[in-house]
Symmetry: D2
Subunit: 437 residues, 4 copies
Amino acid sequence: MRFEDNSVLINAFRATRLQSVQMVEPLHSEDFSLQAAAFASPPKWHLAHTSWFFETFILKVFVQQYQVFHPRYEVLFNSYYNAVGEQFPRPKRGLLSRPTIDEVLAYRAYIDQAMERLLLQFDHPERLAIIGRCRLGIQHEKQHQELFCTDLKYSFAQNPLSPVYLDLPITEQAYRHPQSWLSFQGGLVDIGVPEAAAESDEGAFSFDNESPQHQVYLPPFQLSDRLVTNEEYQAFIDDGGYRRAELWLADGWSKVQQGEITKPLYWQDDGDVAQEYTLYGLRPRQANQPVCHLSAYEAEAYAGWAGARLPTEFEWEYAATQQRFSSAAERFYHPQAVSAEAGAENITQRKSGQGALLQLYDACWQWTSSAYRPYPGFKVCAGAIGEYNGKFMCNQWVLRGGSCVSPNAHLRPSYRNFFYPEDRWQFSGLRLAKTII
Amino acid sequence: MRFEDNSVLINAFRATRLQSVQMVEPLHSEDFSLQAAAFASPPKWHLAHTSWFFETFILKVFVQQYQVFHPRYEVLFNSYYNAVGEQFPRPKRGLLSRPTIDEVLAYRAYIDQAMERLLLQFDHPERLAIIGRCRLGIQHEKQHQELFCTDLKYSFAQNPLSPVYLDLPITEQAYRHPQSWLSFQGGLVDIGVPEAAAESDEGAFSFDNESPQHQVYLPPFQLSDRLVTNEEYQAFIDDGGYRRAELWLADGWSKVQQGEITKPLYWQDDGDVAQEYTLYGLRPRQANQPVCHLSAYEAEAYAGWAGARLPTEFEWEYAATQQRFSSAAERFYHPQAVSAEAGAENITQRKSGQGALLQLYDACWQWTSSAYRPYPGFKVCAGAIGEYNGKFMCNQWVLRGGSCVSPNAHLRPSYRNFFYPEDRWQFSGLRLAKTII
Amino acid sequence: MRFEDNSVLINAFRATRLQSVQMVEPLHSEDFSLQAAAFASPPKWHLAHTSWFFETFILKVFVQQYQVFHPRYEVLFNSYYNAVGEQFPRPKRGLLSRPTIDEVLAYRAYIDQAMERLLLQFDHPERLAIIGRCRLGIQHEKQHQELFCTDLKYSFAQNPLSPVYLDLPITEQAYRHPQSWLSFQGGLVDIGVPEAAAESDEGAFSFDNESPQHQVYLPPFQLSDRLVTNEEYQAFIDDGGYRRAELWLADGWSKVQQGEITKPLYWQDDGDVAQEYTLYGLRPRQANQPVCHLSAYEAEAYAGWAGARLPTEFEWEYAATQQRFSSAAERFYHPQAVSAEAGAENITQRKSGQGALLQLYDACWQWTSSAYRPYPGFKVCAGAIGEYNGKFMCNQWVLRGGSCVSPNAHLRPSYRNFFYPEDRWQFSGLRLAKTII
Amino acid sequence: MRFEDNSVLINAFRATRLQSVQMVEPLHSEDFSLQAAAFASPPKWHLAHTSWFFETFILKVFVQQYQVFHPRYEVLFNSYYNAVGEQFPRPKRGLLSRPTIDEVLAYRAYIDQAMERLLLQFDHPERLAIIGRCRLGIQHEKQHQELFCTDLKYSFAQNPLSPVYLDLPITEQAYRHPQSWLSFQGGLVDIGVPEAAAESDEGAFSFDNESPQHQVYLPPFQLSDRLVTNEEYQAFIDDGGYRRAELWLADGWSKVQQGEITKPLYWQDDGDVAQEYTLYGLRPRQANQPVCHLSAYEAEAYAGWAGARLPTEFEWEYAATQQRFSSAAERFYHPQAVSAEAGAENITQRKSGQGALLQLYDACWQWTSSAYRPYPGFKVCAGAIGEYNGKFMCNQWVLRGGSCVSPNAHLRPSYRNFFYPEDRWQFSGLRLAKTII
């Protein structure tokens, strides 16, 4: 997708901005400040912060004599950019009952108009930089659309009333797909994309952490063609999975012993009825759907118990690039823009050819065994934008693929998602791997 | 006020219930779940809990085949009654974005109708008990009206936008009243009221902790005729009040050293401009108004610095009973039902006679030096209602009087308010006392 | 005991100093830094701090050109005197492996010599002040002798090897004394001692918190003639005492729910064998001995369960002054200077006359229902010495009497011991009281 | 070193065991329980735990009817082996004043005798396994000898008296070595050792985490020939290193902001005098010695500030294998067995040839940028021994090389040390790396 035809960019901008607003339509006003943990930002905050991003990194920089919408918003809606300045404390975002949602929507409209005006200045001396930043801002907002879903699910789940975000009927039962192993020869392979395109108007967008492209040597390995299911994970539990220290990394076992981890995050059993909290409310748990909302510790413990291991992020990326449909094209079943958890709900029979990797992008993110670190030669961008990804490159683990709430634009083999190994509120599952000896 | 004329009780019930709803009218929907600390419940929770109180202690008990409004509310809106059952965790009340405010108002209407129906059953075999419980429920709701103001102020104060609850103009400046000492002979005096009237329909209402009446011996003492002012407290600060360990109780000094206490809770200085956050928003601080939102530690430190001490709760009560106007009658200036902080804003010249104790009830609660313990012969009521006051009789200190946000019905010499000595979010100030030797 | 004959004072000084050293003789070097909680100071620290007290408040003040033993000790062994200066953090006292015990003993010898030299200067211009401070220093050291026992017991108890401090045989079984109630008329009674004698050489010593003497009005009441026993407390447990919220103060119940309180501190049951950890090691629990190491919450919960209450500190003191033997004279059975827990081990038949209050001073401290606050007219001494008692007069509760590890010199009706209501590592039990109606 | 000649093994066993005891000779009895943090075990515990290791994994397994020295030691001195059973809580190890040091030395003697008896049973049916485990036990004890030094330093450093472990004179000043860059071509290189030899009696010993050997592709890179010095690190501080967020990983910056990290762990400036706490006591800081006791966050921040980066563990290992003296042979200056911090004190001029990597093993461990994860094909051993390394393979970072307190036997290119990135109590410094583009 090239942007020399400006309408493409403006359309993408408008569609993304609209999508954010459409996503909050099912909410009540009372939900907009809801924040059940420091990591789970309130819906209203997402709407404001994504606007702040355009204002801070584009409008304030490239529009002469730009008037900010509100002087306090610079601090209130700064997420973590130290170079921009002070930040309102993250755990207290839920305390911002003001600005109201109406004020936040007015803020959005103000930003939208200013942005469109700027994008129409074809002769702006910094035209290329503006386009690059705008593309980044769009992708940034899409990331927050996914976070909106994960954060809302987490916060709603604290309420014994099990609030419903979308009230859709359960369409069909997931099909039991027999598991098989696909083999990959490995060798010296290319990983990552040649160059971060964030600041250019050419080529497909990618984030800086997907570059530079570099070579990695991979011994031969196998990957499971599908994700681990609820039924399989239940067998792990029934076999004492959460009571057997030898299956766990020490840091994970310590959480198990403190009672912080006893089952996947949203599993709720009511007597004999296996249920799980979803954005559709409390629902029966389907045996053949992928198990979701695991920490990396649980994923590793399960993999060891199953006689396998997690793939490295390099194995995953290399294998994904070998697939015929290695991108969003496979998300054929997504019925509508806001279809949170349709994937988790309805993993259905796939008509893939022999040997295809299923559920790469449409069900759950897949924990890899790789720590999130920069690629060789990675350079942090100058200025506040450099804080986007680089400073988080420690103590987190890489997840690959995509989930039922991921934006299509992020579904590609090279996309690197990353969270702390104890994090469970993302749609995180696992795919097994094996070393071929 | 007697209730044999049933309309008096029903009118009191209706007026109180209406008042709670009127108080939230200036709020936006987004404010209803706001909770900035475990001790500061959200507005919506107060509205629901006061309804829960009538439902739990009256309707479920005295109405045959009563249908509860919602089966989950029993847990969601139980504050601390272990005998009733489990409670939703107090620090998480702000996470209940559902039920929405509309649902809570429907809950209130449901309770109101059921209560009125019950109060009209003149021949109900438990008529007297119903009346007693209803009077308690009314007083309980009035206490929550005051808490609504204190909690909202605390939660709003966390927002850098300094939200405005009531947008009233500042009418006048507080008058500088010279301080004088009133002397009291003491001796063997009566403290408390003869009998808790909660379960009876006779006589003035009082809470169980104000009884039994008993004798206390008081040596001669003096009380200041007015409260300590902002200006006086500023002098204490300027004299190193927060840096001189010898002025402080050890537990208070420890909080000072940890940086938790550096000035009254809502003081905010902007350069040279002395300001304070109020329910009217951020306002200039008036030198002659009573200093407010102090911990008992600060109150004691100030008193020692000023060569005085805090009064005991018995000294205070005894002195208050000697006043010509010892009750709410003195709150002549309250312009309207919801006048939060009118007192703190507008302590104006009082036209009292010689020797009157000013500001007993209309400005700030006054810390006493008395630990909150039961009176001799105090008996906890049987059942859940017994948890109302008795179980909190340790580690807290008694405050006496009333504040600008207190309901008139609570303004009497015998009323015992109580909070932990470190608590500062109530409208708490101090009146000096001295021992006569 | 008067001190105009100087040898009496010097002998008391020597005996007290010697006693502290004799008490640590059963220890191994490894035990000297043992500290299992911030409140439980290591044995070595007690030895050093009591010397620091004489050095800081007497030698540095009254000896011209006094050379301190070590310049760093001023900070290292300052307990809580802010007026003296900085303090080494209390929770880290156990980290002071240096100075070694030999160095601390050398410090003690240095202080002893300097003190004796000073006490022989009969013509010192501040002679009276020196005598007063020395008497205080002696009483202070005796308090630390008791704390040495309680702290050591607490720290040893953390070791699964159940270390033995004194290896004495169990001599006899405690006798089952039937409980009876003694009645007291009350009225307007004198409480406290006329004047703190700390700075004088005349009359019996008392601490500043026992003064001023003042009048308190007491309604008629009853006291149990003996303490509650292990067997009686076991019946409370068996009746669900720790599971019934209605018996508990809210702050205590919260600790029960967090699992912090489930039985008296040192009870250890091994299968069916009821045991308790003592300074003699792990021993069978005797049914008729007083229950010990309770928090005030447990004491109040038990009293309520038993249909009684805790006495006020005034009731206790008044009743104690009515006893024929109201002082240490009754501790007839203490076989030796260091007899920790002889009392708890061997509460034997007492040959008291009719109506005597037993176990006032020799078994366990007795929780009262009184918050620890200053007496009317109490003045904090000027200077650092004023920090001795006054600044702790909040949030703590008064215990009265004495225990098996209390020094004889502290056993008197007016002595006020005080701890936080949750504290359990002192030898704290309870005596029941009742209001006569 | 082969062990078919049994005397070699017995001699290694004896020498190692003796070394542990010699290392504690400078201590006082009071030091033996010293523990200033959960991660810093007391000296006595190291002595006991290393004996427990031989008893648990060899004597109990291979000696028929073996009688344990003390039945409680199994729990008391179990570090983290869940498969063995319960463990005494790590943060409380310092509370074990008993067993005394004499009892622990008796335990050691008992184990020594039983081990020597077993090692002389040439015809034991499990002879090979015994030898393998014994070799592991020896290496394990050597690791604890290093930990003894690091833990003691940390605990001593809390004492304002700055205790001296070894009282050696400062011999000479470190020489200023100009820094130069060595280039490495990289390519597909072998990493790790072919097979863990722990259970065999053949070949050099290595830990399981150094295997399997595998291929890694390395782009061309450069390494600094020496470590970063105190002077260079001071320049980083003077340039605002600890105030510039852009230099830090987010998790590290958060620690900086909380005031946990402000300078290298043991730096103590007294006015203008730059000092550092060492095992020789408080000493002047030498400008040209390597900066030591850094977290990985500080190491990365410094590297970025200096326009470089940390090496990967693979770059480090590959480069080290290219050195002529790639092992302990270079530790020529170590004057005696217990020479803690001789390295940190006396990094002197090295007579290396052109292009040699200096200070690989003798000064400080060197943080790499690599997360500590298993090598491809790594298998955890069965049973409790499998907990030795495998379960820690997450959230930690790899350090390579060795330090002045490392045992010679661990100095090799393939040795993987690992700690959490915030850890600073190890002798951890840094060597800069660069990518060649």
